[in-house]
Symmetry: C2
Subunit: 292 residues, 2 copies
């Protein structure tokens, strides 16, 4: 049997992976969850038919959503992850010893259960760590109810359709602003610069209107995502010198010298301090789209 | 009619574009040439069934194969392009006023003819410029016969199969070394870091064994190429300070101030001096693969 999964990245653009078998299919109260075993990318998690992660390339997305904020902030104690039920972002955050508490706010318990069962290397941080608390709640409501409680908020959302849609709204960003402590950092995944520049512009406007000072974007290649090229917003609640200029952050530059942070770097497969700086350098078309 | 072109990027990985119609199909002495009109990426050129360029994203590949070498060298007069019959690389090089002569050595006249007919915006430099000379010759033989003749050589080859295979050999790199003038720069496309790390390692070893001093790699996202992420080798014949460290090159840093070079930057859609520096920052897995 020649079994293929195809995702339409755009009307007229299709990405396909040959599958060896279906491991799991389930319809939760929120979405359709499928796990497939692919020939080239290992196991693959789909939510509503869209690739959330594969075993082979998830390290890039998860390292890049977690470490830029963690290294730049330097001294974060409390981190909130909204979405991210697969656990990959939590796994990366746990490498930072200064982070004493990670709250994962995932609306769909089904995603956590499926990841624990089929992606043990991704979900390793979701069980057994006293530093991790999992809440099965609406992240948008949670941030409204917890002012000045976190040093970093990471919005590890699905695409802006279905349950993930509210996580791209201005109202949500205002709540995040309030939920952050002074000098807090928000990172949010913002889709592909090749296909979703309108969304990126909208996120930038929403973050700025919500009170965030510097709002920057950074990118990395992710081969199984649309366009093979992904972006994240990086917004700071109140500036201090290092946070205003994430690519020159003293915390980042010190990372190689600091024993604890140096050990973090040794465990990574995509992120380096050089890659961190480079990721914030945006192509001309990206700059033109957000500045123009 | 729902017409799709699919390219297998790997066994088990397939990329598809919906096509509105076939514009041209031809079998030359060297390869199969096809031109398709796609829904999302405009016109697309295929050689032996593999995507060479699309109207929508070719600017990234062509800017990134041409400008890093042109800006770093700074004073190049004579440039040799091997392959590149579509003309995109020549178009980018012509923006640099210090370049007085570009020799395009393309083995298959069919590629040039098809590009002139179907991709006028890509092939614009291939007709009417007194600075461009087109030779329909074997590039590997041409470099052997022209010692110390060029300041920059750009290997704008197809994949390392068929007519492009010899352009990845150590013998060819030795000839390029001899063909370059002192302080000359060689740039060669080296496929996707996600899928072709063995080839990249082999290119690096071949360049180093051929006498090149610093051999570095840089990357950029190209959505219609395998993995959506592409790489180029950057090798210098003999070091001078600026060329040893391309990302800190004085010529590059001056680019914004220099009137002529500043005008070049205004015309580009991907490349910026910041992107230039960032492109040479390689992911951990890439560094491990070439250094390990």
């Amino acid at each position: 049997m020649d079994l293929w999964y195809f995702e339409d990245h755009r009307p007229g653009v299709r990405f396909g992976l040959r599958c060896l078998r279906t491991l799991h299919s389930e319809r939760t109260a929120y979405q359709q969850i499928d796990v497939l075993e692919t020939e080239e990318y290992g196991r693959m998690l789909l939510l509503d038919g869209l690739v959330m992660l594969t075993s082979r390339d998830e390290f890039i997305y998860h390292e890049m959503i977690a470490h830029p904020a963690a290294f730049v902030h330097g001294g974060a104690r409390d981190v909130l992850v909204i979405g991210g039920g697969d656990g990959g972002t939590v796994r990366e955050l746990l490498r930072h010893e200064n982070i004493s508490k990670i709250v994962l706010c995932e609306i769909d318990k089904g995603v956590v259960d499926v990841s624990l069962r089929f992606f043990p290397e991704v979900s390793s941080g979701l069980k057994g760590s006293s530093r991790v608390e999992i809440l099965y709640e609406d992240g948008a409501r949670f941030v409204e109810e917890h002012p000045s409680s976190f040093d970093i908020i990471i919005v590890d959302s699905t695409d802006p359709i279905g349950p993930g849609k509210i996580l791209f709204s201005s109202r949500f960003y205002r709540s995040c602003f309030t939920c952050l402590r002074p000098e807090g950092v928000l990172v949010a995944q913002t889709e592909s610069p090749f296909y979703h520049m309108d969304l990126i512009r909208q996120v930038r406007a929403g973050l700025k209107a919500s009170g965030f000072g510097p709002v920057r974007f950074y990118t990395a290649p992710v081969p199984t995502y649309p366009g093979g090229y992904w972006s994240w917003a990086f917004a700071v609640k109140e500036g201090r010198e290092g946070l205003l200029h994430p690519i020159d952050s003293p915390a980042l530059l010190r990372a190689g010298e600091d024993a604890g942070k140096g050990r973090v770097l040794e465990e990574l497969r995509y992120y380096t301090p050089e890659i961190h700086r480079a990721a914030f350098s945006l192509p001309r078309f990206f700059l033109d789209a957000i500045e123009g």
